[in-house]
Symmetry: C2
Subunit: 417 residues, 2 copies
């Protein structure tokens, strides 16, 4: 029996989430006997509720192929989750309306842990309401905090960007340190897990690199940190500090959030990096520069990891293959077979096992002093940044795909929310 | 007559200053009849004063060739300038001592406008003190503010990095804007000139891009800016703001410098980007992300402009060729012959014409509203970011050169300063 398929993107995007889209769409198109038309929701699950569907038949095969090297979310992503089944039954009834109106039998939701909870909820349509829908989660997150998978597509490329950038800065800083800047502070993403800060550890080899990592998993003690930094600068002449935005001080509070001002009564400006730089200047007197990568680390497709791109595509393809094999409410995962060389295969887990579960950097990955990574961590992360996957450049700039985004004519009345 | 040559790096480094080093060293080595040994000073002019000389005969041809793709300053750079001739005559006498001790007849100083002033002063040794030394300036600066040259080596690569990163972020931001972040603020370098902020204009085509540039050349009026931003977000749904760190408010003060705190009596934390993001949140209520590129924009050799690398090498080579042709106290410059296609040749100017002269973005390059670039600016900048020049990668990370750095045995007593 032929049914239509619907794909949607959710949560913070990555430089390779469109490679997963490409995997889903190309694989779905390869099975015209089972899958009829292929749609994408505009703005994730919100697009489904609003019946904002993009007709992918209007996109050329070349555009779909070019998604593999295009950052951002081509079909737009949302920060919106479905409510509880009991209290938000109208949302679920609306989903059924939309799925029925457009004969959608397959739903693929591409996101992180929170989005997998929403995918899990969509699967309730068949379990609790008897509406036949095959729902698959497709993993993505630069935070690498999804459980039961070797890695989350998006992490490898962000890790490669951070490790490369830190290595490059080390060549700059080491040439300036004698008469100028001695410390460089970089703030990276990671509210609850320090995977991206840990990735900076790949920039250096050897036992005692001029690098201090401040992971979200290790409570931050300012005095101990300044001592460690002074020690590094004494030995190397300079040092790089990479801090996870979710760093917590020993009192359990986020270090990067400023106290409310006694004068203005609102939050002060600034994030973690300028705050650390300030402490370093005040405490040690070193000239300090700081940078905040923010969206760059998750959109720098020009520096994507080839392994990451391949895995992102593979989980998209596997989602469709699992659906066609009669599975439901699952998420494809990556299973590591060996580290050197890196061999992996695709496996699958139930959405219930991954929905809203966060996996921090394990203690065995964190050096005893808390400021670095262990060999175990290096062996784990190194394969994930392997290989370059450059996008095409035209006139000096990357040539990324833009979809036409032709909407499917609406058949229902507007959703009241 | 055969003399030895000395090369040194000065001021903030770039991702291609070592390509100029490569040009100087390879060209000097190609003329053994005229140039004997080739040395590099460790830490710029300070290394000369301290007689800290690196013996480049100890570096392999492969290492010298690899400098062409290695960021930072391989021989270390300094923020130190020579004093006035009259009041600091001991510095000049020391230079002669060192040059004589090591039979140095050629001196190549690689830096920006301030460093060209120091190069100019070294040339006084022959003019005012009768000591025969051929002194050449080799241009570099990401700020692009050197006069009389089409561009400064280092700018094209930094511009390519910024334009590429802004284009990539535009794909991220546009996918999130409906339910999350609507504005992204990027702070780029440029204390006195807004060339790097202007380069972000290359990221978009068309008349009305979702982009506002805050150039150092245009006094910043907060209210007018917030109005322009609201207008952009209304029309596009989102907007990117790129600000030069040297942005000045209408009162003439740097916008990025916080007022002294009435409580703590010292400078507040934070730079321009968090301050602008704060104003946007407070003034317009948009969720705003911000990033600061800092050293990344000048060390991102992985994204260098091929044109820039070629020009950086060419000015290094030309410096040696000019010296061998009997010229003195000059700096090679790039002369544009045509924009489409970009044809250029090497010319030379006297150091007096470029020393300590800063060239801002000209008014004809700035859009009437002050928040964008004109077609004239685009035609000027576009050729400078053309072509990719990827470094080799090993195990997922760029493989950059490190010199052995064997020091030349000292012949003089330590310099007292």
């Amino acid at each position: 029996m032929q049914k239509n398929a619907l794909y949607a993107q959710s949560g913070g995007v990555t430089s390779v989430i469109n490679a997963s889209a490409c995997g889903v769409i190309q694989t779905a198109r390869a099975h015209p006997d089972r899958i009829g038309r292929v749609f994408a929701a505009d703005n994730g699950i919100l697009g489904v509720l609003n019946e904002d569907l993009i007709d992918l038949d209007q996109e050329s095969p070349e555009t779909i192929a070019a998604l593999k090297h295009t950052p951002g979310g081509a079909f737009r992503s949302c920060r919106f989750d479905l409510g509880d089944f009991e209290s938000h039954r109208h949302q679920y009834e609306r989903l059924i309306e939309v799925f029925e109106a457009h004969d959608i039998g397959y739903f693929f939701y591409n996101g992180g842990g929170g989005s997998m909870l929403t995918a899990r909820k969509v699967a309730w349509l068949s379990e609790k309401m008897g509406h036949p829908i095959v729902c698959m989660g497709i993993p993505k997150t630069i935070d690498n905090d999804l459980p039961l998978t070797d890695t989350s597509p998006g992490f490898g490329s962000a890790a490669k960007y951070i490790a490369t950038s830190v290595r490059e800065v080390s060549f700059d800083l080491s040439s300036m340190a004698t008469t100028s800047t001695k410390v460089f502070v970089l703030e990276v993403m990671g509210r609850h897990a320090g995977w991206l800060a840990a990735a900076a550890g790949l920039a250096f080899e050897g036992e005692d690199p001029p690098l201090l990592l401040l992971l979200a998993e290790v409570p931050h003690d300012s005095a101990r940190f300044l001592n460690a930094l002074r020690d590094k600068v004494h030995r190397h002449g300079w040092c790089i500090v990479v801090a996870a935005e979710g760093l917590r001080c020993v009192d359990g509070q986020f270090c990067g959030v400023e106290q409310a001002s006694p004068i203005f009564g609102h939050e002060q400006l600034g994030g973690l990096a300028p705050k650390l730089a300030h402490q370093i200047r005040e405490g040690l007197g070193y000239k300090t520069h700081w940078a905040v990568s923010d969206y760059f680390q998750r959109s720098a497709r020009h520096l994507a990891s080839a392994v990451d791109v391949e895995q992102a595509y593979a989980v998209g393809r596997a989602g469709v293959e699992l659906a066609l094999a009669g599975k439901n409410a699952m998420m494809p995962v990556i299973r590591r077979l060996s580290s050197r060389p890196y061999f992996w295969e695709i496996d699958a887990v139930n959405l219930t096992e991954v929905a809203d579960v966060e996996m921090p950097v394990p203690p065995s990955f964190i050096r005893e002093d808390g400021y670095g990574i262990t060999e175990v961590a290096r062996e784990y992360m190194a394969p994930l940044i392997e290989g370059e996957s450059y996008p095409p450049f035209v006139h000096g700039l990357p040539d990324y795909a833009r979809i036409r985004g032709v909407k499917v004519p609406k058949k229902l009345s507007a959703w009241g929310g």
